[in-house]
């Protein structure tokens, strides 16, 4: 069991561009934290720094309050599952599993017992005599997890462990990982570019971009209160729609939000940004609308927006409707929005329609991308 902390950690592979910049993150004992972001955002670098495969340029990494910057990987008692599994191809499953125990100089009887226990836990007992190339992707994945867990590490690291699997298997193993983590209670850091994995697995999720931590919080917090447009777009499937908006406020605390040609009036108190919104009178801002915020039928507090449908993707339980807001400005045509409509959506493409939104569901972002909150 262990607590992990990154304190102001930076990593430069190249003097000009940091792979990781002033990264700070604390992981509690037994907590499951997911690092998520697009490729090249520094998430794998953070993981490799914690594993000891790379050295930090500045800052400190702590495991159980001990600075481990200069501690070699084997002394950190961390275990890692690699993206391509990195199973030793010339060894059997048994030998792969026993290797870390041999390195730790565990006695032969004890290590045999430990290997068999882990093999049983991960349903690998039948496969112990096989070599990695005789295994399916999912089986290799389980062996990789077994090898990481076998010597009872204090920190468990996973680097995109599901990215080489097909969608069905991915969902199944995702559930297995969540169950294992719950049962074993290991402090876990999990790296992925897939926000679905992040949302479903993490107790907390850290969203990263361009080497910087954007926001950390519970999946629900990230979804409900994104700190900036990057997080808003990244979390959710599809992510939040972001579009230009003109804000005008009246003296009586009423504000008018202009989206394209259409205006919505509401009181500042109703706004997500609260009365702070009054400071932005007359400014061009960014509006954020979740695809779930659009409704095809009128509803209480709903305000109608005229839209033009561009495309409809029918997915069975829901439809994704791509659309534009009519606008006088040609440039705004680029802002294609998407709505998630339950069930089948019957309007044809290139037709006009009305979607209803609750004005309180509109997120407001300043031009630097930061959210405006009360």
């Amino acid at each position: 069991m262990a607590r992990v902390a990154f304190r102001q950690v930076s990593k430069y592979f190249d003097a000009a561009i940091p792979a990781l910049r002033q990264f700070s993150l604390s992981i509690d004992d037994g907590e499951f934290v997911v690092l998520v972001g697009p490729s090249g955002c520094g998430k794998s670098t953070a993981l490799r720094l914690l594993a000891g495969l790379e050295t930090v340029s500045t800052g400190e990494i702590l495991i159980d309050d001990q600075i481990v910057n200069d501690t070699s990987p084997q002394l950190r008692n961390v275990a890692m599952v690699f993206q391509n599994y990195a199973l030793y191809p010339h060894m059997t499953v048994y030998d792969n599993l026993v290797f870390p125990l041999k390195m730790a100089r565990i006695a032969a009887v004890a290590r045999d017992e430990q290997v068999r226990r882990i093999a049983a836990l991960l349903d690998l007992t039948e496969l112990l005599a096989r070599r990695p190339k005789q295994l399916s992707g999912g089986q290799r994945q389980r062996v990789a997890m077994g090898r990481a867990l076998v010597r009872d590490p204090s920190v468990f690291l996973l680097d995109e462990p599901l990215s080489n699997l097909d969608a069905k298997l991915r969902a199944q193993i995702r559930a297995d990982i969540a169950r294992l983590q719950r049962e074993l209670g290991k402090t876990t850091l999990y790296v992925t570019h897939d926000q679905v994995e992040a949302m479903t697995l993490g107790h907390r999720v850290a969203v990263m971009n361009q080497g910087e931590l954007q926001q950390i919080g519970t999946p629900a917090a990230l979804y409900a209160r994104p700190r900036n447009t990057f997080v808003a777009r990244f979390i959710g499937s599809p992510g939040m729609n972001i579009l230009p908006l003109q804000l005008t406020s009246a003296v009586d605390g009423q504000v008018t939000l202009t989206l394209g040609r259409q205006s919505i009036s509401l009181s500042a108190a109703q706004c997500q940004a609260g009365h702070k919104v009054l400071n932005y009178n007359g400014q061009a801002l960014l509006a954020g609308l979740r695809p779930e915020a659009f409704h095809p039928a009128p509803r209480p507090h709903g305000v109608g927006l005229s839209i033009r449908i561009v495309a409809v993707e029918y997915l069975g339980h829901e439809s994704l409707v791509y659309f534009h807001l009519p606008t006088d400005d040609e440039r705004d045509q680029e802002h294609e929005l998407v709505a998630r409509i339950p069930g089948q959506f019957h309007k044809p493409t290139d037709s006009d329609a009305v979607f209803f939104i609750d004005p309180a569901a509109i997120y407001l972002f300043a031009n630097d991308g930061l959210v405006i909150t009360a």
């Binding site: 594993a51 993206q83 990195a86 010339h90 390195m103 090898r147």
Partner: protein, 278 residues
């Protein structure tokens, strides 16, 4: 198969067959000649009979053992070549691994140096090297035939090229699993690099088995001289008996043939992987 396709196929096979013939003819002649009386070898050299075995006696083989200490030469050759191969595999693989994986100042220039060294033939440095071993007092020993050939730029480069392509995640996994650098090299890297080890072993062995110039320069006693110098002895011992020379040649080729057939599987794989990816 259409007519033009058939024509091309036949043409290709005729070409391939002719090429194969070019390489096999001298070997057949050697083999046939090794069983013939010396006088007959020269007499039939220009005709097709030269490629047919006749007499079928083993007299030439007996002569070889009588006229020169063949077993001594063979033992010397085996000892020198195998020692160079074994020591060379260790030294050159470690050097290639260091170049491929470790970071240290001056590594890139050293790699460049290794590549540059590949183009310098032994003949170019034979004389200075000769002076060096003379000063060291190594002449006419096994040592002088072994030490200069253990480290080899071409072998280092072959290993380097192979290791650069080996997925680094394996070694990283071993590091996290608690293995030190030596353990990683011998337990993880070497077992996954068998093709390149076989390739380097065969290439080194072939080169050393046929080494002639250097042993000629630095040895004079039969106690340490290898096979190629033994065969040369026949040219200086009159009368010039071609049958004996061919018999010697056959016996010299057999071990090489055996090793090649034995390692062929790995060898081909090694050349393919290092050749294409490296």
């Amino acid at each position: 198969m259409s007519r033009p396709r058939l024509f091309t196929t036949v043409l290709v096979y005729v070409l391939l067959f002719s090429l194969a013939l070019m390489f096999i003819v001298p070997i057949v002649m050697m083999l046939a000649g090794s069983f013939k009386a010396d006088a007959r070898v020269l007499l039939e050299a220009g005709s097709w009979r030269g490629y047919l075995p006749a007499d079928m006696g083993l007299q030439n083989y007996r002569d070889v053992f009588e006229r020169v200490p063949f077993l001594r030469y063979l033992l010397n050759s085996v000892f020198i070549s195998t020692t160079i191969v074994v020591a060379g595999l260790l030294v050159n693989s470690l050097a290639g691994y260091a170049l491929a994986r470790l970071r240290w100042p001056g590594r890139d220039s050293l790699l460049l140096g290794v590549i540059a060294l590949m183009i310098i033939p032994l003949e170019a440095i034979a004389v200075p090297l000769f002076y060096e071993v003379t000063v060291l007092g190594w002449r006419d020993t096994y040592l002088v035939q072994i030490i200069p050939f253990i480290a080899n730029a071409f072998s280092i480069y072959l290993f380097y090229a192979f290791f650069i392509d080996l997925p680094e995640a394996l070694e990283e996994a071993a590091r996290i699993d608690g293995a030190g650098p030596w353990r990683i090299f011998f337990s993880i890297v070497v077992p996954n690099a068998r093709p390149v080890f076989a390739t380097v072993a065969i290439l080194t062995f072939l080169t050393q088995w046929g080494a002639f110039l250097w042993p000629l320069m630095v040895t004079h006693s039969e106690d340490v001289r290898p096979l190629p110098l033994g065969i040369a002895a026949f040219y200086t011992l009159p009368p010039l008996q071609w049958g004996d020379i061919f018999a010697f040649g056959v016996m010299m080729v057999i071990p090489v043939l055996f090793i090649f057939v034995f390692f062929q599987h790995w060898f081909v794989k090694g050349v393919a992987t290092t050749g294409i990816k490296g």
